[in-house]
Symmetry: C2
Subunit: 313 residues, 2 copies
């Protein structure tokens, strides 16, 4: 267990999809395999995010999966688990556990049950969590995703948190879907050490040009190497072409519900049908939808190199 402070996380991370067994229990072996494949493609592990069905897992299920990753020898410095819950007590427990395991950061949703809450209430939520954990190694990435949470994180809230907890407030994953918000955050905190991660690879190039730190994106689960390539070479002459190529892959996935589609692609290219299972309230793709997805991706020359070999090893 690392006691030192890991280097700051940069680059591309994946909200790692969580595999389930036929009885809907989490499948740790498939999970470890997928994390290894992502890391081998230079993509970090934002486990228990939205696309991970993280909120469909209990606190205990998340802790057990995280421990399995560390036991499997995967570097916790590459992990940014989702730890933001509706209950402060849960957020404290998950975040404290992640810090003790040596995780590079935690991705923290605001409490998302109540709507129309004040900045003061959200400030107190984050402040309480930080105070109760009381550990300089805690690095919080705020998780802005109002289309899902309906609870936005304002720039004024970030400023107040950063002023009072500069050691613990490390950055943001911005899935606002609103470039004017992203731009405001990039400009407001440029050079401050507050790292802005795009919430989708479709704005990775624009985010890097604006001084961002990378992206945390659903499709990094299935298309990791090309997304990492753009991150590495965003200053190159073909960056716009790379961005358009990433967007084209996403457009195929976006014709379907994203999480079932990601799992279906993994099921297909790893030749492991069990991967398609999702927890309710999500529903897996129909056979027809799955056929369309695979056919369209195949037509584009899409595949997931190395995935099948790993699954069958």
């Amino acid at each position: 267990m690392s006691r030192s402070i890991a280097p700051r996380i940069k680059g591309v991370l994946s909200p790692v999809v969580t595999p389930f067994k036929s009885d809907y229990s989490p499948d740790a072996e498939r999970f470890v395999r997928h994390c290894r494949w992502l890391l081998s493609n230079n993509v970090g592990l934002a486990v228990f995010g939205t696309n991970s069905e993280g909120n469909s897992l209990s606190v205990e299920e998340r802790m057990a999966l995280l421990e399995r990753l560390v036991e499997a020898g995967i570097d916790p410095a590459r992990m940014m688990p989702g730890t933001g819950c509706c209950a402060i007590s849960d957020s404290v427990r998950l975040s404290s556990h992640a810090v003790k395991l040596g995780c590079g950061g935690v991705l923290m949703l605001p409490p998302f049950y109540y709507k129309g809450v004040s900045d003061e209430g959200l400030y107190r939520n984050y402040a309480q969590i930080i105070e109760q954990i009381g550990d300089a190694r805690l690095r919080i990435y705020l998780y802005q995703i109002p289309p899902v949470t309906q609870v936005p994180i304002s720039v004024a809230l970030i400023e107040r948190l950063l002023k009072n907890y500069p050691q613990n407030i490390a950055g943001i994953k911005d899935t606002s879907g609103d470039w004017s918000y992203t731009k405001t955050v990039l400009d407001a905190f440029r050079g401050s050490g507050f790292d802005v991660f795009a919430g989708t690879e479709t704005i990775l190039l624009a985010t890097m040009r604006g001084g961002g730190a990378g992206c945390i994106s659903a499709t990094a689960n299935v298309n990791p190497a090309p997304i990492h390539s753009l991150f590495k070479t965003w200053e190159g002459s073909d960056a716009d072409a790379q961005q358009e190529s990433l967007n084209a892959v996403r457009r195929v996935f976006q014709k379907h519900p994203m999480i079932p589609a990601l799992k279906q692609a993994i099921a297909h290219w790893s030749n492991d049908p069990g991967w398609s299972k999702v927890r309710p309230p999500l529903v897996e793709l129909s056979n027809d939808q799955a056929s369309v997805l695979v056919a369209e991706l195949t037509q584009r020359g899409f595949h997931m190199p190395g995935l099948r070999a790993l699954a069958e090893a």
Copy 2:
């Protein structure tokens, strides 16, 4: 621990507000006292609802509080704890625990993280919970509150659940805020044994006239006897006047954020300032707001008979 099946819950229930100590941990002693006061006013215990800050409590915190109520000798047949979580595993654990303790029912939110989910996915959520628990004593009251969850429960979903799990699907708490929905549900299931509880006392009379079973309402925390009185005498000649009197009290509370206002009233009339504490992301009333609330209620002759004596006993 009761092994028999309790009689069906009817009448008025309160989403019991949850008191916190200065360190934000749940205060079981104040909680037991408030539950006793509500029961002495013929109001049942819908603990861990929206107005209970139920989703601001961890699974363990809810289970510990429920056990404390039972240990204190309070009849579990009068309890309808909130047990619907984003994670099926949590909903199963909480609901199973409630059944084992002999609770008269459980109030079950749909999983509320993902938005735009299908009826099929919501059906699978409830069906999985019922199947995994596998206990004929489990009585689920569906919790319809789309203004908060953003996840509505359709009439078609209720019909499908009721058809396949008639023993376990007992009714609904309807906080849709949409009388046309309430009316449709009342009409669709009249005489079927599916019990409709109004989600606010402002439509208690209309709900009873439409064949409903009672109400589960925030202000039952502070105004229990008058609300119960309307439930008992809704066929009387003064029912409309009673309803208007209840509405007038609610209007005073509605000038403020509801949960902090309820707790402030309890703090004042029990002479126990600690009651005003809320967990983030909620924020307690300011001193000015608290003064206005108490003054307006006092002017109306509002008080909470017996509460102070209980607190000081």
